[in-house]
């Protein structure tokens, strides 16, 4: 994974975290892989919280799907990393995602009932919207390793299905406008 590319990560970081505005990040293939894996792992953590706190069948079904699907994508990423004998590289975007997720998880843990369900559902919709924009607009165009580019493209199909699913979940909940 040789070439270094410039990734406009500012929008992703601002949308997903409480971190201050950042300048464009410079991510190479190993950093793209790390950030993508981190984003999936974060959504699994949100889903586990939803499974613990929500009694709503629609929310719980969605959360179970997030755990199942993101685990499958991350397993595929792990298999690719092992095949290529490389190690994904931690980077500022990954760290900002983790910090932002910690804040969001703390916010969600303080909620219950419909308030939790709506906050979780709307976060899932926003999260997938922004992640999908970043994967499609930045990660895939800038990845240089064909196998990584292909995996990101396949993952994007899954993530877009999640975005649609999240939109239906939000619409099905009594969250108001």
């Amino acid at each position: 994974m040789p070439r270094t590319t410039t990734i406009a990560a500012t929008a992703l970081v601002l949308a997903l975290t409480n971190a201050p505005a950042r300048s464009a990040e410079t991510l190479n293939d190993l950093e793209i892989a790390h950030a993508a894996y981190t984003a999936g792992s974060i959504d699994i953590r949100y889903a586990h919280l939803a499974m613990a706190l929500s009694q709503d069948e629609t929310v719980r079904d969605f959360a179970a799907t997030m755990i199942r699907d993101h685990a499958a994508v991350n397993d595929a990423a792990g298999a690719l990393v092992a095949k290529l004998e490389v190690t994904p590289k931690d980077n500022a975007l990954s760290r900002a995602l983790v910090e932002g997720a910690a804040a969001k998880l703390a916010e969600l843990r303080a909620l219950e009932g419909v308030a939790f369900d709506c906050a979780y559902a709307m976060n899932e919709l926003g999260y997938h919207q922004v992640v999908n924009q970043t994967v499609e607009g930045d990660f895939i165009p800038n990845a240089t390793v064909p196998e990584l580019k292909s995996l990101l493209a396949e993952a994007l199909v899954t993530f877009k299905a999640h975005e649609e699913h999240a939109a239906r979940m939000v619409a099905a909940l009594p969250c108001g406008s």
Binding site: T65, R68, A72, A76, A155, V157, T158, A161, H165, R168
Partner: protein
């Protein structure tokens, strides 16, 4: 609806993987597992069943082949393939004529239909 479950998930290279024959689950419905004479294939790709509607003859088998990273199912009232992992397959043989709408239990927007024609 009478059908036979022939669950034969296979991985790349033809290696048998997660061979979970679940026909036993349906023994109470008078169903037993055995190979069918003909197998149709429904590809699962990009969160869609292709073809979305498939027509088979009574006693024939449908195999669902999942090309997606995410696991999927083919599920209806009365049958369920269970989870089909990437590059895995699951097969069902349909014994009763009729039209059967089904979906993926994990991704509800994925829907399909099976038409089982009677043998004259």
């Amino acid at each position: 609806m009478r059908f036979v479950t022939l669950r034969r998930p296979r991985g790349p290279g033809g290696a048998l993987r997660v061979a979970g024959l679940v026909a036993a689950l349906f023994n109470g419905m008078g169903v037993s597992a055995q190979e069918g004479p003909r197998e149709h294939v429904v590809d699962i790709r990009s969160f869609a069943f292709a073809p979305a509607t498939i027509t088979v003859r009574q006693g024939e088998t449908i195999a669902w082949l999942n090309h997606d990273i995410a696991p999927h199912t083919a599920t209806a009232n009365g049958f369920d393939t269970g989870a089909i992992a990437r590059d895995g397959t699951a097969s069902l043989r349909f014994e009763t004529p009729g039209r059967y709408a089904y979906r993926c239990a994990y991704h509800p927007r994925m829907t399909g239909e099976i038409v089982v024609e009677a043998i004259d």
